[in-house]
Amino acid sequence: MKLSAFGCLTGLVVLLSAPALAEDEIKIGLIEPLTGSVAYNGNSVVEGAKLAIGEVNAAGGVLGKPIKLVIEDGQCQPANSVNAVEKLVQKDKVALLVGAFCSSATAAIMPVAQRYKIPLITAVSSKADLTEQNNPYFFRAAETDALMARAFAKILATSLKLTNVAYIGVNDDWGRGGVEEFSHDLSDLGVKKAMVDYFDHGSTDFFTLLAKLRVAKPDGVFVAAETQDGSILVKQIREMGIDTKVFGVGSWATADFIKLTGDAAEGIYAAVPYASSMDAPRNQAFVKKYQDAYKIKPGKYGAAGYNALQIAAAAIARAGNVDPEAIREALHKTRYEAPNGIYQFDAKGQAYGFEAVLVRLQGGEPKVVASSPVDAPH
């Protein structure tokens, strides 16, 4: 009896809180991890996204209406992300979706977006096969592991003089993908594989893994890890007294990574699609705006969120209405001038044309050592 009364009450609350049909704004749904082990990176995406929406609205919005960003916490979990999408589509009636952060979560929400026929842009998820699933509603405004590996394998092998490399990645789709792609491309260049090992999200102690690394004696170690795991791992590599070249993928070219890692960050290399030190006028303007808003230089994820929402807003403006099919068509015609180059989508929805950079952390700043355009995949 109590239970059913509770049920009635919840139903009532849901009914009462249903929106009073605000048609005077355009809603975009954003699903990012706001809690959990990658919450910090997810929040950077949200910061960038808010900055972009602020700019668009300050310039009068799109189609004469302001854009409203509806943010949901997907926790990087497939199930929670799917729930978030259901809520965004059914209750908030968003015109377009942006998210989710982790590749496995994005893979889970892609079929949902397709079922509701709502375009979905991911700003981050880089697992290569997401764009191979023939989902016409899916767009990836980000690099893939394969594209990054192809852009940088040769530069890395020659400029760091690598002959024998160990690979360490976080144990999920993204980490495993990064390790596979880089080891594949570096092996093609004749670089030997000294060791491959993975660790779980949220691990804090890497001494056991690093003991194995010390015995393998590589002249370089590739790491696929995000800010928190990566900073602790790099720090412990130096604590163990292992003096090898460290390079990798993840949000390493950020002020926070450098602050957390301390002196151990000195001299490591990171292949990133964005660094605040990229030398382009558009980027300098973006860095200044970001710093004014958040007192911190933008990193990979701040820029990713910013770019995705700029692309989304421009597509809605081009579509001329909020019909999902029109927005989808407009997205295919994207030619967006980002701080880090020009974004266009190929037929599968994969972005290309923007610059990716190899940075070296020096004196607490990411210095760009090489830059390479991310080409359309064949």
Binding site: G36, Y198, F199, F207, Q228, I232
Partner: protein, 290 residues
């Protein structure tokens, strides 16, 4: 062989950290019969306040540690007097619900105030390697293990030898008799909870100087601590120590010789084995509540 020694040392160091993290949980359960699901969040708060005192206020590590101990003891005391007291003697479920709610509240409050970014506690020592024969360690780790041992022994002595400890054990054995003997049991419960929180927060700060502090690590810490406590036996002090070391060494060996990618499986496999063959844990003192 060298590699084996390195794995063993890693396991023992991490195991000592596990034991230290789990101590507060087992203490509160053993003495108060409260399953504290907010344990991980108290640990997290220790790290975050430690960060605040060292990095934001620029205090010395040990001065900051003292401040963390005092502030967390006060917090623990207040939580018991204002929250846990209301559900005392209403069975374990009420306490579980209360502490789950508290854990959600604390984690989200911290997210709101300091944000989700990882934070660094400035340690008391430099972080260079120390070579002991074939084994590599850092000074900070050696110091942390030493502080951990001091805390474990200290807490044990407090419970075994002092008047307060006697009163705690008396209250736990028979609250009614303890009250009749003139013990202020409310005060004792609050002190016990404060002690448990202090231990958890100290562990949090100590380990945040080696790893990092973050608002959302509480859940993972609680989970590992429960593994340790179930292995050792709920409420047993030596059990927590042995459980922690066992888990640390088992993880290091599995990570070293099999794969580090699935290391979290080990703790739970051990728990299943223990529950099948020795459900009271390795060291449980089978005491019934009066």
């Amino acid at each position: 062989m060298d590699l084996f020694l390195q794995f063993l040392t890693n396991g023992l160091v991490v195991g000592a950290f596990y034991a230290l993290s789990a101590l507060g949980l087992t203490l509160i359960f053993g003495l108060m019969r409260v399953v504290n699901f907010a344990h991980g969040e108290i640990y997290m708060l220790g790290g975050v306040t430690g960060w605040f005192f060292t990095s934001a206020l620029g205090l010395n590590f040990f001065a900051a540690l003292a401040l963390v101990i005092v502030s967390m003891a006060v917090l623990g005391w207040l939580v018991d007097r204002f929250l846990i007291e209301r559900v005392r003697d209403q069975g374990e479920e009420a306490g579980i619900l209360l502490t789950i709610g508290l854990s959600i509240f604390l984690a989200n409050l911290t997210l709101l105030v300091v944000g989700p970014a990882p934070m660094k506690v400035v340690g008391p020592l430099t972080e260079g390697p120390v070579f002991l024969g074939p084994v590599v360690l850092t000074k900070l780790r050696i110091v942390a293990v030493a502080i951990g041992i001091i805390l474990i022994v200290g807490a044990n002595l407090l419970i075994r030898k002092t008047r307060l400890g006697q009163a705690m054990r008396a209250t736990f054995q028979d609250p009614m008799a303890a009250r009749l003997a003139g013990i202020r049991t409310d005060h004792i419960y609050a002190c016990t909870f404060a002690l448990g929180c202090t231990l958890a927060a100290t562990a949090g700060m100590l380990l945040a100087s080696i790893y990092s502090a973050q608002a959302s690590i509480g859940g993972l810490v609680s989970l590992k601590s429960f593994v340790v406590v179930i292995l050792g036996g709920m409420g047993s002090f030596p059990g927590a120590v042995v459980g922690g070391l066992l888990l640390g060494v088992a993880e290091a060996m599995w990570g070293g010789y099999v794969a580090t990618g699935m290391v979290d499986i080990i703790g739970f496999a051990l728990v299943i084995v223990i529950l099948l063959f020795r459900p009271q844990g390795l060291f449980a003192t089978r005491v019934e509540r009066a």
